[in-house]
């Protein structure tokens, strides 16, 4: 299977890199987001090839199915001036290059550090069970919900606080707004909703 796997790896890797390039190069911001989605899907394919099928599908569900849709939503709604945005883009190129280099260096250090100093591997990672013994999800869950439960919960809490903060910043209570109250509607009955008056003829109410 090695040859086939390598072939698919190159296909997905090529699509991912090409898509990422087009995110930056595309003229239309909506096209940029669509290329970003293509990159996500190709990255999910790479995860699949690495045997991390759970991560692959979660990447699609969370990033492509939810985050990128909100992205697309915002980009479509905003009336952007494409030319104006592109003008200053080159100014930021060195900055982006530095960030990319830092990320690359971090990846190389994290990935290959243990090869030079074997004791590093013990400090960073829990030994992973072979995939044929344990399914992906079970392996992930047994680490995430036991050893790293505190970090996991803290991450959730931070996201929650961020969400509450965002809502507080944007929430405005408008005065004089009519709101639908479902319980009040359901609780209505003829006795409370209708008032019967005896109207004298020719007088009106």
């Amino acid at each position: 299977m090695l040859g086939l796997q390598a072939l698919f790896f190159y296909i997905f890797a090529f699509i991912a890199v090409g898509g990422a390039l087009m995110v930056v190069l595309a003229r239309n911001p909506v096209h940029s987001v669509l290329f970003l989605i293509l990159t996500f899907v190709a990255a999910a394919g790479l995860f699949l090839l690495a045997g991390a099928e759970f991560l692959a599908l979660i990447l699609i569900v969370v990033y492509v199915g939810a985050v990128a849709i909100l992205f697309l939503f915002v980009v479509m709604m905003l009336d952007l001036d494409f030319g104006q945005m592109k003008k200053g883009a080159l100014k930021y190129a060195p900055f982006g290059l530095i960030i990319g280099l830092v990320l690359l260096a971090e990846l190389i250090i994290a990935g290959t550090g243990s090869a030079y100093h074997p004791e590093l591997a013990k400090a960073t990672a829990l030994p992973m069970q072979p995939l044929y013994e344990m399914s992906n999800i079970r392996a992930l869950g047994s680490v995430l919900y036991t050893r790293y439960i505190l970090f996991f919960q803290l991450a959730g809490l931070i996201l929650f606080v961020a969400m509450v903060g965002a809502i507080v910043l944007t929430l405005r209570h408008k005065q004089g707004l009519k709101r639908q109250s479902i319980p009040a509607q359901v609780a209505r009955n003829p006795a409370t909703a209708i008032e019967i008056r005896k109207v004298e003829s020719g007088r009106g109410i």
């Binding site: 299977m1 086939l4 239309n28 909506v30 096209h31 669509l34 989605i37 099928e53 759970f54 599908l57 979660i58 699609i60 569900v61 492509v64 199915g65 939810a66 849709i69 909100l70 697309l72 939503f73 479509m76 709604m77 399914s135 992906n136 999800i137 639908q180 479902i182």
Partner: protein, 351 residues
């Protein structure tokens, strides 16, 4: 060379043959599901429905297919042409791709993967792209409004669908769709002395979730009463307003394939898949695939009846239902189910 043939070419040919067979059967079934939808809708309104092409109108869908294919596809001049034509393709491809993991009988599945549910969930979360791309690329106000509505709607209801699926997975202990069906051969019914019966299936033990899943499935597939993305009384035809001919037909095909998928998924998660409803003789003789089709057909009948009965929701009511009713309910149910399984020890072995 023979080694190459037996490792790569032969399995690939088998999978290809299975897929083509499955797709042909599926497409013919979808043609009749479309007809059934129109017939049921007509019967509720005391009309006859399509009854001209073929006996009782049985060939109506194929006549419609010819009509759509032979018409000229019109692409609006100011539209984004590539995205405009890509959108219906994406809608139909994704809807059909999901069926690769659906087991229609024991062992009758093209790809029996361990994360089947997650695959279905992931692909159906992508289906919104067909709608949103089509609506944006049309460069029309109505289409754009429809696309925005559908994006918000589908993302909202995916959340509750996800939690409902989690409750089922907690009871089963596996993400494999075949395992989910097989696990339903023992359950509540076995406890009260009716083993292998329809009382064993998850619809009873997880009852409120069955309803939540059914309603969320309606919203996820843009079926009435939640068909706001194409609300014809206000948005003409919503995101499809600029489409005609074959691209329009592909949108319709994608929509009905997604509906069929949701019927199959309801059958697998809650109605015991291909398992017979009783464990004695005339019922156990019937092959599993027949039971599967019958159950999925029953779910579709409910889909069609809802379309005929229920008036369309207002948009804020739709959002309220999704976020303020279904999300807390399904979240609470996940906690309750996990708690009960942990306390009672009914959970799946090794989970």
């Amino acid at each position: 060379m023979t080694d190459f043939f037996s490792t790569y070419v032969w399995p690939a040919l088998i999978i290809l043959g299975q897929s083509v067979l499955f797709l042909v059967v599926l497409l013919v079934l979808i043609a009749y599901i479309l007809l059934a939808d129109r017939k049921i809708w007509a019967a509720v309104q005391l009309r006859r429905g399509p009854n001209v092409v073929g006996p009782w109108g049985l060939f109506q869908s194929f006549a419609d297919l010819l009509k759509f294919v032979l018409k000229e596809p019109v692409v609006p001049a100011s539209s984004d042409k590539i995205v405009f034509l890509l959108a219906p393709l994406i809608a139909v491809t994704l809807a059909l791709a999901t069926f690769a993991v659906i087991p229609v009988a024991n062992g009758w599945v093209i790809a029996d993967i361990n994360i089947g549910v997650l695959y279905v969930f992931a692909i159906s979360s992508l289906e919104v792209y067909g709608v949103i791309m089509g609506g944006w690329a049309s460069n029309s106000k109505y289409a754009f409004l429809g696309a925005l509505r559908s994006a918000a709607q589908m993302v909202s209801y995916e959340v509750s669908i996800g939690f409902v699926i989690v409750t089922v997975l907690l009871c089963v202990g596996s993400l494999n769709l075949t395992d989910i069906v097989i696990s339903q051969s023992a359950g509540l019914g076995t406890m009260i002395g009716l083993p292998n019966s329809f009382l064993d299936w998850h619809w009873l033990s997880l009852f409120p979730m069955f309803i939540v899943f059914f309603i969320s499935a309606l919203a996820e597939t843009n079926r009435p009463p939640f068909d706001l993305p194409e609300a014809e009384s206000e948005l003409v035809a919503g995101f499809m307003v600029e489409y005609g001919s074959t691209p329009y037909m592909m949108f319709m095909l994608g929509e009905y394939a997604a509906i069929t998928l949701m019927c199959c998924l309801t059958t697998i998660l809650f109605l015991g898949g291909w398992l017979p409803p009783f464990d004695f003789v005339p019922f156990t003789w019937v092959p599993g695939v027949i039971w599967f089709v019958l159950k999925a057909g029953l779910v579709f009948f409910m889909f069609a009846m809802v379309k005929a009965f229920v008036p369309r929701y207002r948009y804020d009511q739709l959002m309220r239902l999704g976020w303020k009713v279904f999300l807390p309910l399904s979240l609470a149910m996940v906690v309750i189910v996990a708690f009960v399984l942990q306390i009672s020890g009914w959970g799946a072995p090794g989970a």
